[in-house]
Symmetry: C2
DNA sequence: ATACATGCAAACACTTTGCAGCACA
DNA sequence: TGTGCTGCAAAGTGTTTGCATGTAT
């Protein structure tokens, strides 16, 4: 949680944060925008994008960049992995412990500073298989 | 290698494949297009995209979807991992053995069929750190 | 009062697609 | 000869940005 980024507490931001917290299925920006529009049709898509980015930077939500698709957001901020279904394109949590030491498996780092990693599994979800 | 996909052996396709094989630095479609344009300015960008997709499907090159950026391609087809520099955005190979058994670490697969995984590290390259 | 934030539309980066003509097998 | 394939331009998707206005602190 990084609350030292100066920002205001706007109503829009609160609504967007609440929306992500209530959607427990890894929504992307579009889905969040649609959800919010149901009750708050005046909030613009640009504001949704801007706030999702900021909230993720502040650590209030988790930003999950998805290869080959729109980025997702997650109310669960602890680092964890995801699987994307090849058929329905939905994203699910993977029940695998976070590999804290994965970086140390790297044989020869050639001088890189490795900060983080991301694993995305690909396959078929129970509904699609 | 999946040569059972019916396709013709066009000159454009050969040129594109050779270009990727000669570029050993994980080029994206745009970079490949630029490179080809130097010697073959008549090949269109759509053709580059179409052929990169096909060549990857056939297994002649590796398609690396990059979160937060343009997809890259790699002449090295054996599965391996990559690191993306946060500053210069370049993509490098990571010298870590392929984790064949990573899927078996998943505690409770809830009925997913897991086919593959992708790890992308993030950090700073030797030039940028 | 003064930044930061908003809504809107336009721009952006990356990629795919419709179509008419072309060329490999 | 037929069906892939090409070039072109246009459209599509996901996201960011410039600007004038609004608002939290």
């Amino acid at each position: 949680m990084q609350d030292n980024i100066k920002s205001r507490n706007t109503l829009q931001r609160k609504i967007i944060l609440e929306a992500v917290r209530n959607m427990k299925n890894h929504p992307d920006a579009e889905m969040i925008y649609e959800k919010i529009s149901e009750t708050n049709p005046l909030i613009s898509k640009a504001t949704v994008y801007r706030n999702l980015k900021l909230l993720a930077k502040q650590g209030h939500i988790l930003h999950i960049p998805i290869p080959d698709g729109a980025d997702c957001f997650d109310f669960n901020c602890s680092p964890h992995y995801h699987i994307k279904c090849k058929k329905c394109n939905r994203v699910f949590d993977v029940d695998m412990p976070y590999q804290k030491n994965l970086c140390s498996n790297i044989v020869n780092d050639k001088g890189f500073i490795i900060e983080s990693h991301q694993i995305v599994f690909s396959g078929l979800c129970p509904d699609c298989k």
